[in-house]
Subunit: 316 residues, 3 copies
């Protein structure tokens, strides 16, 4: 595995899930493979779960981990080719990526989109520039368009809780006070397309995700209808994709509440966290037994550890 920045790079999902499961059963079994290996974690944005779980995963593998908030603790980076660097950007990504590659055996990066420049965001410039210039593997800790480690944790969790061979999984948009990126829903949609599930996306009219991501996944604008017989409800807000980065709806009738959960097949409730209570989901759902957001977050460690293991083993 060279880089891991997209769900698209997963070649054998079942093998990856099996690896994660083995790691979860015995997380410290491979402390030797990370010996004298350094993971550099570079943050351009806040992180809690990703930061802690990836650091934990690295430690479980015996790796040394260096964490930096690149913008505040390092130098601001220039990403444009041919730039005349007479402004505020002190260092070009070409040097930064090559230099960091000499100190770290794996580079992991979090960089959110602007949500103002769609074309730029879709280039996922920070992650992809590091992937281009780094001479070591690069892992996305959530880029502008994907959050693939989250999607691995999601499918591991679904596998653990599914009670039938082909469960029905519903990705539902839900209201949120702030404009949020598309990375989590994009990676989740891609993962559900790979997995053996009945998958439905539900959101208000006009809240379509990138059609190149959703492809022929089923979209139902009637949330109640979509929830019928669902085994998993995966709630997530995203800002508008067509009217890029805008909040066109904060309709609280889309909040996941007990009445909506009653329409399902005793579905489990999932969310990537952090979650806004009584916006995305009501307290009554999140505090009920149907919520599996906490064990879902726990699987972040094993998702990261599986990817790090594959990288350290030089596996595809």
């Amino acid at each position: 595995m060279k880089h891991f920045t997209s769900v698209n790079q997963i070649e054998d999902l079942d093998a990856l899930i099996l690896l994660a499961k083995q790691i979860k059963a015995n997380p410290y079994a491979n402390k030797a493979i990370g010996e004298n290996k350094t993971l550099g974690m570079l943050f351009f944005n806040p992180s809690l779960r990703t930061r802690l779980s990836t650091q934990k995963a690295a430690a479980n593998l015996g790796m040394h981990c260096i964490t930096m908030n690149l913008n505040t603790e390092g130098w601001s980076l220039e990403f444009e080719d041919g730039a005349i660097m007479d402004g505020n950007k002190a260092e070009h990504i070409k040097e930064a990526a090559q230099v960091i590659s000499q100190y770290c055996d794996v580079i992991a990066i979090r960089s959110f989109p602007s949500l103002t420049d769609k074309e730029k965001d879709e280039e996922d410039q920070v992650i992809n520039s590091f992937a281009k210039y780094a001479t070591v593997p690069v892992i996305s800790l959530e880029g502008a368009t994907e959050h693939p480690l989250q999607a691995i944790a999601d499918i591991i969790t679904i596998r653990e809780y599914q009670t039938k061979k082909r469960p029905k999984v519903v990705l539902t948009w839900a209201p949120h006070p702030k404009a949020l990126p598309h990375a989590v829903p994009n990676s989740f949609v891609k993962m559900m397309q790979l997995a053996d599930v009945d998958f439905v996306i539900t959101h208000p009219q006009g809240y379509e995700l990138n059609p190149e991501v959703t492809k022929n996944s089923l979209i139902n604008h009637d949330q109640n209808d979509a929830f019928k017989d669902a085994d998993f409800i995966y709630a997530k807000n995203w800002s508008n994709y067509n009217d890029y980065g805008q909040i066109l709806s904060r309709d609280l009738s889309w909040t996941v509440n007990p009445e909506k959960m009653a329409l399902t097949n005793k579905a489990k409730f999932m969310h990537c966290l952090p979650v806004r209570r009584n916006q995305i989901v009501s307290d009554a759902v999140l505090d009920s037994d149907s919520s599996i957001v906490i064990p879902q977050a726990n699987n972040r460690t094993y998702a990261a550890q599986a990817i790090l293991t594959k990288i350290l083993r030089n596996e595809d």
Copy 2:
């Protein structure tokens, strides 16, 4: 030991001091008990001694340590039950505490009081909410009302320097340009009430600490009189407790200086640090042999290591 957030949770002080003494004599003797254990240190406020000494203590025990400035590097937390999270708080403590508990075997937290809302501060909401929702032990690295690791370092230091069975220990208020919390004096008072010492508190009229903390400890408003025959002078500023969080006095006649120290029984001078020179204490005292603030700070490592050891051993 489940949580360690208050001096009140110490069941056997002599045993704890003995453990710290053994650790100090041989700090790396128990590196196996922390193997594959992670300490998560979460800071809502600045820290120097606590941060470094606790990280050192964890390393001495073979633990892996993850340090985060939660407010700037993670998400701002909501602590109110039933909150409609449509403002700036991105994550509820319920999720945060449970999630972090899955990545860390022990959670240590620093969170200062507002000094504007007495009732709220006395709830010590951040520390106590983590203690409520975390599924692993929580250690206070100084909360709104207590700094128990400091108090353990204080009593270790007094034991090392006392030359008589029952020394006289004086806690003296001293002037400071900023409004300071009550956590350090509260924990020190509680510790002195547990220890076998003659204890006197001296402060200007009206600067009484919380009477539920001071209980029947002796209070003397005449600093000079209080200092007579003292073996230890523990200086500390705190803001007013009755007129909550206000600075009612910056009276430099309360500064500890050589004239005042001359009233004592060749007392040792103590302070938790950081200390304002020529406000709390004059250079002449701090730079003299009577000052033991540096070895006192050194004992922070062994205080933290003793508590971590008890937690890792699942001792009461």
Copy 3:
């Protein structure tokens, strides 16, 4: 080796370079000497290469490393003797340095100059105060007047790439939009004076470095003439030293470009990084085979590891 804060403290340069070379060939050979040793890295300013390479060097030696942004994560420090600390400075360097010395076996510090107060900057107050009050060795990660670890990486790199016994090395000033410190050129000049090289400094009239540093090193104000027959071009901007901290020239005719490089003896291009493209140097030079800035940065690890090794071995 007590402290390492200046090139002047290098007693045997050839032995140091040999040590670094041995470490580079076998970086993990001495993991035992750092066991139970803690490196405290204190940053008052941004850092990328220095931070990562020193942390990597410490890990290679088996050391535990604690990293702090002292100003934002700790307390702001007072450095003046006799200060009445009634302002914003919460802790005196006397306490801070002594206390940190109890938690760390080596203290490494980055602190940039003000570029407004020449006399103050030349005292290099932060680094030298730590060196004065710390009871453990102090390493400069770039102070106000020197960046000695950079200079070691520079000479290691020159040794690796030189093709004749006594290469010609040119330090050239180059334009930059911001006022930069003199630490890197100062340490480089001192290093070249120690090394067996033909050394020339070239810069615009009036851009003389501190004459106590340059001593009798050759200065040539004609950049083209200086470049003739050069084997190494080391580019660097610095702000004016006489008109202290001012930018008197941003003359782009001093930018290192292919025409200028054509004047040399197929010289290798060096820079400490971060480098402003198309200000200091043109893309065409930096992206050519003549640039060795990336392997130069790699040697930062072995420079730091050599110094840490000497300190841990208690060598001069």
